[in-house]
């Protein structure tokens, strides 16, 4: 029995490691998209972003950084066995995540109004939609992880599992944060 417990513990460690590997894989996807952008844009002087990036992207960045902080607070409270606080912070993170969604849609709206359509002969502008869209898909996945952690906290599942779910969710959420910052800075540098 004792052995089996140790094995289960090790399994959780291995499962947490899966999350890190998944992060590497999805980072590679964005690395491919951004290098695709470079290869495409460098090919011809007529290509390039050529519009000012909407202000909404800046608001999105602030929102997602805030959500990263709340996600970390949720993780700390989970570790300190403060379930009430943990639930509150997860909820806050989820709300900020939804706000991020809204803000990104605003940004798309602004891009559209400024004439940078998705269907475009200058695909550098289409790339902006692809970057943020692929990132938003990841945010949806991140929200599921957060909801999963929230359900765990509400049902008061065993502490090791609770911390495990919380940790996985917050690792992924921080990744989403860093990923967005990377994409935003990348776009700013190519503006």
């Amino acid at each position: 029995m004792e052995n089996l417990q140790v094995e289960d513990r090790l399994n959780l460690k291995a499962k947490k490691f899966l999350m890190w590997l998944f992060i590497i894989a999805s980072f590679m996807m964005f690395a491919a998209l951004t290098s695709g952008f470079i290869v495409y844009t460098e090919g011809n002087a007529e290509r390039g972003i050529k519009v000012l990036l909407p202000k909404a992207f800046m608001y999105s960045s602030v929102i997602i950084i805030l959500s990263s902080i709340t996600a970390h607070m949720a993780y700390l409270s989970a570790k300190g066995l403060q379930l009430g606080k943990q639930k509150l912070y997860i909820l806050l993170t989820i709300l900020l995540g939804i706000a991020f969604f809204y803000s990104q849609f605003q940004a798309w709206q602004a891009l559209y109004n400024s004439g940078a359509y998705f269907v475009n002969y200058n695909a550098s502008q289409s790339f902006i939609y692809v970057f943020s869209g692929a990132h938003l898909l990841h945010v949806i996945v991140g929200l599921f992880f957060l909801i999963y952690a929230l359900i765990g906290a509400i049902r008061t599942i065993p502490q090791v599992r609770n911390v495990f779910r919380m940790e996985v969710a917050s690792i992924f959420w921080h990744f989403l944060d860093i990923l967005w910052i990377y994409l935003y800075v990348f776009l700013l540098l190519n503006q």
Partner: protein
């Protein structure tokens, strides 16, 4: 806090019982054979699905070989089977020809040699050779198989849609693949191809994540990285290559889907279809090639590295000798892994890429010859003066080495940017990659099937049928692919429906007839394998626990399959996996589980990795037994 943790993990354990069956959980037919989470069953599922796909892809290859050998003849039988739409008057139509070439390539590369090979043997061997109960996440493992299965079904479905399967080659270059109106195969069939590939990538990624995490986190006591069998090293590095390269294909495919269905212009520019000018402007088709080959080239190492790992294990076991240069083998695998990411441009020498860039890619490409040659020489040195046992698995392993050499040599020609101007897109390329990654990898896979069949099904395959299978396939494959080199040097282009229409190529028709007969004979040889494989599952000779006198951990697990692999405690590991024919030991193999204290007569000082106490004990023992040691009759 500490007490909570202990209490919780007890609860956790009970909770976890659904996933982890320790013998007191009832299994139904569905949980055991269909939605199984047991890595051994998932391995068998991957293998059998892979074999089915291989048979389909092989039949497709015979179909287009018939067309190439007898372009003007009619085969009424074809019309009976394929219908008027694809084989009107018993002759394969050009559209269908392009489709079967495309699907043959896709199925062989992805479904057979990626999922069928890595999926089978990584799943089977990683937990068994490392001493783990199962994968890091058995659930994701099951998901990985079912995504793969779905992707196979979707690919097969594309044969039954109005416009036929995808037919722009397995590399699906735009603009051909991006314009549904360009050819019939770029319609619904292409859409299904893309959906199937996205599912396939998801499946391989999930699998690869699981393999890496399991290898890094779940090795048994004593199994440090440098005591892992070379199979595991190969699967590990293959999985790393997969994690880094497959996501890139997803990016490329996403952009292609936008071009196809939403009207964007990532890859499209200046196109006229049937006299109509398309609105798409400003795209770059070379962008697709960059993204595709950033996956595509590592993909060929995803295909060959597991085969190399399997071969290392089988050759050492059946030569009754330690693998020559274990560390060199690992470092050359690592070298191949790193280099695989910086050579993709050699597929694009003639796309108008900057010639300077071509030079860089040429140099990196040719450097790959170094680790590959290290591996080849190490195989030969392992076999050299070994106590060879020619089991079918061993023959296939030697066959792999042969194909790896003869196919690898032509890689030196193709990797050269100047020679490639003449050789690109000819049969020379076809011959090269079919030998070096097609035949070599499939031989590695068959070698693995023959060697680990007893582990999978508890029974042995028939050896005589195995020998027939090997010799017919080995000779047949050379007869198919060797003549293609000469066709390629003469400039015969690949993928053409009837190149004999060109007067100067007509002389190659007789060669085509010869190749097709060789292909038919090698295809028939596979019947011996299929019969042997499926018959032996039920009626094969019962296998002992360790049929090949092998050292690795999987042979210490009982023949009857348990969920959890070992009853009771997992064995711990004391030595590397290649102690074959060690001087001074009474048997010619010492399993990894045997501690050094039980093999005092054969221990060498360097076995102890600089542990002074152990060395001291050994020296004392050697002094006491100096008279018995090194007597000739002891070996």
């Amino acid at each position: 806090m500490a007490s909570t943790a202990i209490h919780d993990s007890a609860v956790l354990h009970q909770h976890d019982d659904h996933g982890h069956d320790h013998g007191h959980h009832k299994e139904t037919f569905i949980t055991k054979y269909i939605f199984s989470q047991d890595h051994k069953m998932i391995a068998k599922q991957f293998l059998i699905t892979g074999i089915v796909m291989a048979v389909v892809a092989m039949i497709l290859s015979i179909l287009f070989r018939l067309q190439l050998a007898w372009p003007d003849e009619s085969f009424p039988l074809l019309e009976t089977f394929l219908g008027e739409k694809w084989a009107e008057g018993g002759r394969i139509k050009p559209d269908f020809y392009l489709a079967i070439v495309t699907i043959h390539g896709t199925m062989m590369v992805f479904f057979v040699l990626t999922a069928g090979l890595s999926g089978t043997f990584s799943n089977l061997l990683i937990p068994l050779q490392l001493g783990a109960r199962d994968m890091a996440s058995p659930f994701l493992n099951m998901l990985s198989y079912w995504l793969f299965f779905t992707s196979c079904v979707i690919m097969m479905c594309s044969f039954f849609v109005e416009s036929g399967p995808a037919s722009s080659g397995w590399t699906v270059y735009p603009p051909l693949s991006a314009l549904p109106k360009a050819i019939s195969g770029s319609g619904t069939g292409m859409t299904l191809w893309l959906i199937s590939m996205v599912l396939f990538v998801a499946s391989s990624l999930i699998g690869a994540l699981n393999y890496i995490s399991t290898i890094l986190n779940m090795r048994t006591k004593g199994m440090d990285m440098w005591k892992m069998p070379l199979t595991i090293w190969a699967f590990f590095l293959t999985a790393i290559v997969g994690v880094l390269s497959f996501p890139v294909l997803v990016s490329a495919v996403v952009l292609l889907i936008f071009d196809r269905s939403f009207g964007t212009s990532f890859y499209l520019s200046d196109i006229v279809v049937a006299g109509q000018i398309l609105p798409n402007q400003g795209g770059s088709p070379v962008l697709w090639q960059h993204l595709f080959w950033f996956l595509g080239h590592p993909e060929v190492y995803i295909v060959i590295m597991p085969a190399l790992g399997i071969t290392s294990e089988v050759i050492a076991t059946n030569s009754r000798k330690p693998i020559f240069g274990y560390h060199a083998m690992v470092y050359s695998l690592i070298g191949i892994t790193v280099l695989s990411f910086i050579v993709w441009g050699h597929h694009m020498f003639v796309t108008g890429m900057n010639p300077f860039l071509g030079g860089v890619f040429m140099i990196t490409t040719l450097i790959i010859a170094v680790p590959s040659a290290v591996k080849t020489f190490n195989y030969l040195a392992t076999i050299w003066r070994g106590n060879l046992r020619f089991t079918p698995a061993m023959l296939f392993a030697v066959g792999l080495v042969s194909f790896f050499i003869s196919g690898g040599l032509t890689g030196l020609f193709l990797g050269n940017a100047a020679l490639d101007i003449n050789l690109h897109d000819t049969y020379f390329v076809v011959a090269h990659f079919h030998l070096v990654m097609g035949c070599a990898a499939i031989f590695g896979m068959l070698c693995g099937v023959y060697h680990w069949y007893p582990k999978m099904f508890g029974r042995l395959m028939d050896e005589r049928l195995g020998y027939i299978h090997f010799w017919l396939t080995f000779i047949g494959a050379y007869l198919v692919f060797f003549p293609m080199h000469f066709m390629g040097i003469d400039g015969v282009p690949r993928r053409y429906y009837a190149f004999t229409e060109f007067a100067f190529m007509q002389e190659w028709l007789t060669v085509n007839v010869f190749i097709t007969w060789a292909a038919i004979i090698s295809a028939l040889a596979q019947v011996a394998f299929l019969w042997n494989f499926f018959y032996s599952i039920f009626y094969g000779k019962k296998s002992p626990q360790n049929p090949w006198d092998s050292n690795t951990l999987e042979w210490t697990a009982p023949v009857e399959h348990l969920h959890g692999n070992w009853p009771g405690e997992i064995p711990s590991v004391h030595r590397w996996p290649y102690d074959y024919s060690k001087p001074g030991h009474h048997a010619d193999f010492i399993p990894q589980t045997t501690p050094f204290s039980e093999t005092m007569s054969s221990n060498l000082l360097h076995d102890f990795e600089g542990n002074p106490d152990a060395e001291h004990i050994q020296q004392e023992w050697d002094k006491e037994h100096a008279s018995e040691r090194h007597t000739p009759e002891q070996v």
